[in-house]
Symmetry: D4
Subunit: 248 residues, 8 copies
């Protein structure tokens, strides 16, 4: 029951067309989503400019396309992550303007290019193998209306590579740092800057890397206080958090 419907009901009460008891009954049984709070939820999507997002894995290609189409009709940007070859091909056939980033495994339909972020989001990767995750973050941040800077392959075992970019580091308003193996990069970066660092453990590594657990543990235990962490390989989530920060 949205505000209009609720107000109409109250008008009917005032007019005597509905008794207070009947109105009480209607209010008590109406679905929650029609109350004010749920609407806020709806307004939120509009207000914050979050793109509509589709997570590809486990969806039938036709289902994927159908959701993509429905979302596109709302006029917002549409972002699909981790789409399969089949999902992507089917969707590209319909949406010629969609941009497919193979490295990031993203499919994006830009319908709105408003700049919503107020500063620069730095996207950093430790090694070349972490780049797909970092690219997912970059595409997400971009489609959410942010300026971004990429610093790739600046892992801690060759510190000079990172330090030579200290200027870019200091210019960012928030940083997304992707690293696998021991996941030490966010701690080092966190110590060099005075802004929030969103750490993304990646599943890069072998042996006792355990698909990203070692990196996740390293980041959660970071000795730098400005580091918070998202799930393994979750470049999208990190960029989403960074975008919210950059809009403040």
């Amino acid at each position: 029951m949205d505000a209009n419907r609720l107000k109409a009901l109250l008008e009917q009460v005032r007019a005597g067309a509905v008794t207070p008891d009947d109105a009480l009954e209607q209010i008590n049984t109406l679905p929650f989503e029609e109350l004010g709070f749920a609407k806020v939820d709806h307004h939120r999507a509009v207000r914050v400019g979050v793109p509509e997002v589709i997570f590809g894995p486990g969806k039938a290609p036709e289902h994927f396309l159908e959701i993509f189409t429905r979302l596109a009709e709302r006029g917002n940007n549409v972002l699909a992550t981790r789409g399969s070859e089949e999902q992507v091909a089917l969707t590209l056939a319909r949406f010629h303007m969609a941009e497919h980033n193979q490295l990031a495994r993203t499919l994006v339909l830009r319908q709105n290019r408003e700049k919503l972020g107020k500063g620069i989001i730095g996207i950093i990767s430790a090694g070349t193998s972490d780049i797909p995750v970092a690219e997912e973050a970059a595409v997400t941040a971009d489609v959410m209306g942010n300026d971004i800077t990429r610093l790739f392959d600046v892992g801690v075992a060759g510190l000079h590579r990172l330090l030579s970019h200290s200027k870019e580091l200091r210019q960012a308003r928030v940083l997304v740092v992707c690293a696998g193996m021991e996941g030490a990069l966010p701690s080092v970066v966190g110590g060099l800057v005075a802004v929030p660092v969103i750490a993304v453990p990646t599943s890069v590594g072998y042996g006792a890397a355990f698909g990203g657990i070692a990196a996740l543990l390293g980041m959660i235990n970071s000795c730098a206080s400005n580091v918070s962490v998202v799930n393994i390989d979750n470049g999208f989530g990190a960029a989403y958090v960074a975008s919210l920060i950059n809009r403040i």
Copy 2:
């Protein structure tokens, strides 16, 4: 070698008092901290107004007091976390103005009450047992110059308690959410707001809670995209990140 010393050296080069070769030698062997970059680090502390922080565990009481004293002399706010009874007693004897919060296990010396945060930081706890961690976050956010709102004991098993505070939720610019056991609260809160949520798993729980691992895993796997996570019981770290965000 700070800027002044480096400039003095360059002046000497210009004056012919030092040869370029000798200057080169001096620059190459000077400690890194005296170069520009390290100085930035120093400036950072001043610029962002981060309080000087002491982590109590493992320090001898006299050592604790000595560090506290030295930090206090700089004129900034001083924050000590998890101080032992002995550390706190010794320090309070010297610093009568220091505020000891037993619940949060913090000791604070306020020497600067400038408001640095631009909005409100919401500090939320799932159960009453999570309050010590939430209080550590609240004290930290406060001493770092933020306005805060506390919402305690609003766990997911009694949803109406949380929902009745939807207004406060929506007014916060960033949220710190502390929860133990299954750690579900950040996901629920994350779904209700459009701002960053910093999740703090607490070691509250028993049996298979494993000292906070269950909550940590739950939060890292949150289905809400605006959630990032810090270490178990790390109320300080969460508030630190939130403060950086609130200063943007």
Copy 3:
């Protein structure tokens, strides 16, 4: 030795046709399953109307068909879970009336449509990816003679979706709640109802979801007291427990 055979033996003892010593020997060496207790086991299957169940993985297709056929001959409902494409095709060729649910990966032969459950079993899923597990639960509950209500895609990050169905939640006599990722939904549902909640962690998620462990831990540590848990992806088991409860 069933009751009849034992009674016949006792009659022979009374008649003097068998000595007590020989009878003692026979009783001591007869297989346990022929004693009263084992028979209860047999009666139980009949009494509780549990369908005959086949778990597909690891069985040769012909073996699968043979078991299916043998069970079908008893006249009860037959339920096969997680049958392979080959197992299902072979069986459908013989049993044209069997119903194959691709989503739930179930194959059902309905030979008995008696309503055994006394109330409604609510089957709830957090996300669309959890639906296969929820459907396995739904098919199981249905074939065991229950009325069911499905509430799918009502995860905690969009609370209004769940809350708008509070009426259906309150009408159920027992609930099966399937969720992956952080597994928070059973806690939230458990707080909204006064009936038993059977939680099913699903292997949905990525990164640190660890194939359902995060969800399992979350559910075992639920802060709602009316939640108990079954194995990861075990929709069948949850519906089985729910059916027993619904028959009380």
Copy 4:
């Protein structure tokens, strides 16, 4: 805003004392707990006769007593679990009628002895060391208004002990089974009965028992389909679920 208050508001609208717009504002901003749903929550406590429960650990003795007192004033049964010596002593000094069960570590104030359960709840323990957990379950089930049967020390390594009680097993409407070490008892019991079995892993064991993890894993993987599981040592939770089932 409870029904009365909301109705009063609607009456004011009808009477013209409040405009629809003002009423709309009031409804949209009133705390959720005063809407219908939250009230249901309140009614639930009354309707299902759940005792008020206090979890002792981490509470100051005076705080413990204060909560106990407040709950007692509502006239319901009060159950406190895992109270410390100090908490219990302080409370007993005020509530002479409270019953302290040292084994179960429970403190109970019976103010209502209505029988709410319709059948018998069987409480089973594998070894003598599991008895504290089983007793917590027994006290909980008792205070929630159920008839109970105790079968203690009937672990699987001496099967005849369990089998000699097959009659009691079959008479129960629902069973709570507590076991540590390998946690095999629920599987065996589950195979002997046709009712729901709530399994409670206990932290009993040593070496690789890992404080109950081995038992928890065993029970979650039970080959008996009528078994669901609660947290390690959570006798209270198991009895709570069993009580809900027994009230159906």
Copy 5:
């Protein structure tokens, strides 16, 4: 119902004093332990000469003494493991002949010195810190009527210590090998002999030894095929298995 009672019942049936129907009823409802199988269980204790065993932890001292006394009255050897100081003192005050082994934390009452084992059981420990576990095994094997040889402090990092005892190794009929840290000794011993090796991981070690898990994993993965494993620190269990083997 033991054989005599069952035979008496059958005699009554023959005599016409009990009808077959009444006899059937009695047989069906008699406790299982009185049937033949349970008796076997009883006979087993007698036949195999297993001592009566009490596991100390968690028992009140008076309870401990009471069980000890009751077992002692049967005339068998009594073995108590891991008794507390208080349990042991109380029991020694009553049983002056009981032998307390502080290292092994055992209390033994020898009432039967019959030699039941046919060969020698070798008890081996890797380091001096593993000796308490090895001694528990030694005392257990001794009280179960076996000849034993002790080889202590023969860990793999000083191979010559072990190899210099190759003769004793080869003379044993079965070996119990206790080791902590990496738990490598059973593999090495297993490669040197042609008899069963029972491996006991001990909780000795630090850091990543994880209370015996590293040793347990090492032993379960042993490359020697004649190694089987018992629980961490379970010297009693290993000696129990070894004794059964030595009686064959």
Copy 6:
């Protein structure tokens, strides 16, 4: 240096053909395998009648065949486990008499049918899915010269199936018990017999079975004292240990 060579050397010393110093040098530098101890190792293989064993995984088919051929030439039985299709086909083409057991994934060449075991080895499996592991144990025990009894599909959730075979259980001299899921069967069997039980956790199960870890933990924590454990799915190892016991 075998005995003959060493004796020849000593003869040369006696004859004065080699000086004591030169002999000392030769003895000190000769490879260990030629000393007495290593020879014992060789004798052991002959004495205990252990078949030559080849573990298939990771070997090139030609390499597999070559080893098989070399071992066959010694005249002993040859046992290959977990051979690939290709390894087996290649080997069968050369060794027409070899027996391939598809279920157990074994390939056996019987060249010696001497009965070396003195009693019966019971091979027990909990479910039908555990049979491949149990069969590996059965084939191994058979080729090592033992009489065996198979009891398959007697899991704990249908206790009467196991109990009806109590006679076979009691006749075995040692038991191998294979179970997946919660791994409870060895505990139950262990409580019914007075002989050693070798427990084999299998990787059967799903969800939180973790490829056999749950069963492994269950068995290591068995409350029956006569149970020891081998690696997950290691039917060969269990039968090997059982064979050594059965030869005593």
Copy 7:
């Protein structure tokens, strides 16, 4: 800014062509890699003769070839590890002199055969399945200019195989020991020598070997003090460390 450029700047300062202020600005903003420290990094590669290394997984074949080519042009040895079939074929087509070791999965271009190591590196493997990892170590050590000795298949279950090579063990200056399963070999080897032992856990094993975790834990907990450990299957890393030691 390398030394030359910095010196040129200083010369300009001396010549008055650049003011000290401008020079200060240039020095403060120049990228770190151009300072002395980074150059050391560059010199290091030259000085220690480390080959240029490419890690194959995750690289497109053309990308792999391109890096290989670029590295080859510097005239150093080039080592590629874990190249895919496609990567290797493409590269071999261009570099006919490159040596492909299928077992070690290495591709090596030798352009420099200088002997850099001063002693012998012993490369030891426990079983035949560990040989690929050991070979990766051997190739790495060889291409880094070391003499090596291979001791393969000398696992602890057949100790005489290892002991017969005591002479080779004692001649090595540093040892790399590769073992899977329980990973006991480094402890045994460590006890026999007085030089550093680099332990490499391998993913060889099954069941509870957990892909090398059991071996890793065993090695980290080694009772031999001269053992340090690298990642699972990381033969390259172990040889790299050993080479650095051998150059001292």
Copy 8:
């Protein structure tokens, strides 16, 4: 049988006093430790100058003193680690010259001050809380005859602290790096130097640091190839390995 005894035996053979057969018997049955190999072991201790080491935990104070005394009598340096207050007090009462380092928890008796290491061992700690472990390493390296440099409190979150010591880093021949929390320091250090780095994870940290596991995993997965790892808090072991390297 040492060389002298063996030679004497051979002399007797030559003299005809012992027959070759009798000599053969004696040689075959003599304990291994008396053969050449074991003696090498003994020589090794002398040759490499390893101090005699006592690990305190679990030893009775008198036992501790007795071992200390016995070792001291050999004239070598004696090192005791992790001695309890009682062990240390008792030993100091007898050995007034022994040096007790409270921070490192070491007790050292210097009887030999020969410099055995050829270069400098750098001992580095990330935080102040890691210093006890680093000091244990420093004392060990010192007592084993090495020159050492300490770099304490140079963790990665304040990189300039480490970089300002680049000269000391480059002068060391081998480095021991101690770090807790995320354990990132060895990776960073490893990237700055061209010598072996021995990483020591410490149990410093809280929450998900898991007593050093996070740091251990981080170090094992280090992206720097010159890093190898010892057990958690094992400063002694790291310095032992470093000392062996420094003697080369």
